[in-house]
């Protein structure tokens, strides 16, 4: 139970980074930390005590297996997280080229 609470604390730290900070790169780091905490939470749910990895074969006995369905979903989510972070960084580069700074209080003119 304490593991779930620690996951929630990691999520709140990511949210603190998004809401409070004024540097654009730190906002992107906060979004990535939130994604990591959600992935960890899903894998924590699907764990069975005393079970092995879900692979049939000679090395792994036919004992109880860990849940393979959350692992399949989070495998997709990790690669999509990489694509999202890369897209955010592309937008940040474009903003730096136009305004010359990463400060979000100075990026406020709706021209061009």
């Amino acid at each position: 139970m304490i593991l779930f609470v620690l996951c929630l604390i990691l999520f709140i730290i990511g949210l603190y980074g998004v809401v409070t900070k004024r540097n654009l790169i730190k906002i992107i780091l906060g979004i990535a930390i939130m994604e990591y905490s959600v992935n960890l939470f899903f894998i924590l749910i699907g764990y069975v005590k005393g079970a092995t990895a879900p692979i049939l074969g000679k090395a792994f006995p036919k004992g109880p297996f860990v849940d393979p369905l959350p692992q399949a979903m989070i495998l997709t989510a990790i690669v999509i997280g990489l694509a999202t972070t890369a897209l955010l960084l592309a937008v940040a580069i474009r903003l730096y080229r136009k305004y010359g700074t990463f400060d979000i209080r100075k990026i406020n003119s709706l021209k061009g």
């Binding site: 692979i55 690669v79 990489l82 694509a83 592309a90």
Partner: protein, 146 residues
Amino acid sequence: MKGMTIIVKKITQIVAPLIFVYGIYIVIHGHLSPGGGFAGGVIMAGAFILQILANGSILSKLRKQESGLEFLESAAILGFLIIAGLGLLISSSLTFFFNFLSKGTIGKLISAGVIPIENVVVGLEVCAAITTIFIALAVFEKEEKE
């Protein structure tokens, strides 16, 4: 982006093909041991990124390579759709993604029907996508000064 010293270039010539072969191994054995298409694809992209970082970015060569990467990525995802559509045509009940090749014994390299072919196609697509992302994001300063 300037290149590195000659020691790094020579070591990269030896190490980068080994990383590429390791990525192909993880992609092909995706249905027997942990790994699969996504992990192997990113490792294959890592070999290309190592080459670009060690030798510096000569812009004319990169532009020619980038058009080849676009063709590879589009062809890979089209191949994935064609394999799924063939399942629609071949099966008796009209199911998308039907597993229509024969499934041999569990544990051999050629088994599990359509799954190894899908692993290879997804690995190629992920490799091309991540290399394109790296070239677009990390080499942009030279493009701006032109």
